[in-house]
């Protein structure tokens, strides 16, 4: 085998890993091009939401469930870090880990009963959860600071190096986002991931192939809650303040729209979905004023024509079209008389 063949084989075998590295290199150099803090801030926001939406896409797109309450996990992560570090002076990293662990337990306790539900009922249950959590943020003044929230949250530091500017945070948040991306790509390329994709399409068939359907759903729910929590903690340390408004049910809807635009079960599509929805209001002021209407229209149009979401829907269409064409060509070849 020549060097060229060998490198070709290497590229083929490790194409997913290589793609992540290429993305990492691009992001490493991005601040050279995107150098004003405003645009860098948007890119940081994209990084934060990518972490949340990756987990949510596993839950919605892979496991085929629905959650209208993931902003609650995001918010609990943010408030967890804010209270522990801001109010009680905890060191930031252990606070982040502690918050994520606590949220894993909450998601487990919540997931076991509510993941027996499906469809509309699951949507309502998760929406209700978000509503309750949001009310607590607003009402529990003494701890959460009420409607105005908490401020004075210190930035994250690493051996004395503080991530206290947009530029520094860019590298931090994208390290986390790329790590989350890698974990999710690993998951979907495993038997566990195929089991999830299977149960999203047919629970009975998946079960007869050995997928423990109820357990798999809860696992992904917990995983997505942990990712949302970590993103929330990063959010709190980045902005230095938290308030309930950012974690309302409307934020949950935004997150679901990002999943839909990115495409159900498309890990790479998630990057596109998050970037598209986050950048849109900043590109044109027009969009900012009418953002809700535009998002609604986008959602309806996509779900009407590509129910699997934008990216996944297009990819599916192309794959099915190509396969049908090849099959038709083969049939024609076998019976040349026609």
């Amino acid at each position: 085998m020549g060097t060229r063949d060998r490198s070709k084989l290497f590229a083929l075998r490790h194409r997913t890993g290589l793609a992540v590295w290429v993305l990492a290199l691009i992001l490493l150099g991005t601040p050279l091009v995107v150098n004003n803090p405003y645009n860098l801030g948007i890119l940081n926001l994209i990084g934060l939401y990518v972490i949340v939406v990756l987990g949510l896409n596993l839950f919605i797109g892979y496991a085929g469930q629905i959650s209208l309450g993931h902003a609650a996990f995001f918010g609990l992560g943010a408030y967890g870090s804010a209270v522990l570090t801001g109010t009680y002076g905890f060191p930031a990293w252990p606070a982040m880990a502690l918050t994520a662990a606590a949220l894993a337990l909450i998601a487990l306790a919540l997931g076991v009963p509510i993941l027996r539900l499906s469809g509309h009922y699951l949507a309502m249950a998760t929406l209700g959860f978000n509503y309750v959590v949001h009310s607590i943020f607003v009402q529990w003044d003494r701890v959460t600071g009420g409607p105005s929230g908490l401020s004075g949250i210190p930035p994250l530091t690493f051996f004395g190096f503080a991530f206290d500017s947009d530029l520094k945070f860019h590298y931090l948040v994208w390290t986390f986002a790329l790590a989350a991306l890698t974990l999710c790509l690993n998951l979907v390329r495993s038997g566990v991931g195929r089991g999830l994709a299977a149960l999203a399409q047919d629970e009975v068939a998946a079960a007869t192939l050995g997928v423990n359907v109820r357990r798999a759903k809860v696992q992904v729910f917990v995983l997505s809650a942990v990712l949302a929590s970590v993103a929330g903690s990063l959010y709190a340390h980045y902005f230095g303040y938290v308030n309930p408004h950012a974690f309302s049910i409307f934020k949950s809807l935004d997150l679901v729209i990002m999943v839909v635009v990115g495409g159900m079960g498309s890990i790479w599509g998630t990057l596109f979905g998050v970037a598209f929805i986050t950048i849109l209001p900043h590109v044109l002021e027009f969009f900012e004023t009418y953002m809700d209407i535009i998002q609604g229209v986008i959602l309806v149009v996509i779900l009407l024509f590509l129910p699997q979401g934008f990216v996944t829907g297009l990819v599916d269409l192309v794959r099915t079209g190509l396969a049908r064409r090849r099959l038709a060509a083969e049939t024609a070849k076998r019976a040349p008389t026609g």
Binding site: S190, V192, G195, Q201, T208, L209, G210, N212, L327
Partner: protein
């Protein structure tokens, strides 16, 4: 230890008070094809669903390899080595043909979420081995050139074979085939019959539910006849073919009704 892989006794299942199975008993020997036949509504699919854990029987015993497995959930039965196909295809249409068959290796692929997230070298190698195993199965079932296509795009006959490949890829101990040739043309039916015979030669144990009598008589070692949720006959294909009770169940009473 008995000589039978599967021993069912006194199996009952009611749907809203209507008996779908009553006191059904039968046995299946290892390495043989046991066919379940009977008119529509006889309870054949209900029985298969009980055997694969899709529904729970109300009463009775299902001894699989000497152990009572009645009422275990589907994923546990799969782990014990029971696989199945479905009467109305249950493929994963958006997954590729290869991924569909790989889903048949869910248990072999491992179920640890943490291991999957980290994709350690051990898992990488296992995935590669399983992929080869799945490709071999696709080859055996004549689907090798369609591995990358989404399963939903295939014609019906190919889909039936994908489901069979998925059911056999894991080297199961027992495979339940629910009407594998329903809706197929004679050519495709002959192809499936050939595959069933091939699997039998490879030492596989199968329970076959089928309406196509030619297929049943051609591939089965033993035939069990159900009617109205009860077992009315059992024996070799030749014995069953001439059994008056069976003829009555299929053709109706010859004499005037009382």
């Amino acid at each position: 230890m008995s000589n039978y892989l599967l021993e069912i006794s006194g199996l009952d299942k009611n749907f809203g008070g209507l008996p779908a199975l009553s006191q059904v008993s039968f046995r299946a020997a290892p390495g043989q094809v046991t066919a379940l036949i009977g008119p529509n509504g006889a309870g054949k699919t209900t029985l298969i669903n009980c055997l694969s854990g899709v529904i729970r029987p109300d009463a009775g015993e299902i001894l699989f390899d000497g152990r009572n497995v009645a009422g275990l959930p589907a994923h546990r039965l799969a782990r014990l080595g029971i696989s199945r196909t479905f009467q109305n295809l249950r493929l994963f249409p958006r997954l590729s043909v290869l991924d569909n068959v790989l889903c048949g290796l869910t248990i072999q692929a491992g179920v640890s979420l943490v291991e999957a997230l980290l994709r350690l070298p051990g898992l990488r190698h296992r995935e590669r081995r399983l992929k080869l195993q799945a490709l071999e199965a696709l080859d055996a079932f004549g689907l090798a050139d369609k591995a990358a296509m989404p399963a939903g795009a295939l014609p019906y006959g190919d889909k039936k074979r994908v489901e069979m490949a998925r059911a056999f890829v894991s080297q199961p101990v027992l495979t339940l085939l629910d009407e594998p040739v329903a809706g197929l043309n004679p050519e495709e039916t002959a192809q499936i019959a050939g595959l069933i015979r091939q699997m039998r030669l490879a030492g596989k144990t199968m329970v076959l539910v089928e309406h196509d009598m030619e297929l049943v008589m051609g591939v089965s070692d033993r035939v069990v006849v159900l009617d109205g949720g009860c077992r009315i006959a059992a024996g070799s294909p030749e014995e069953v073919r001439v059994n008056p009770l069976v003829l009555e169940a299929y053709l109706g009473r010859m004499s005037a009704t009382a």
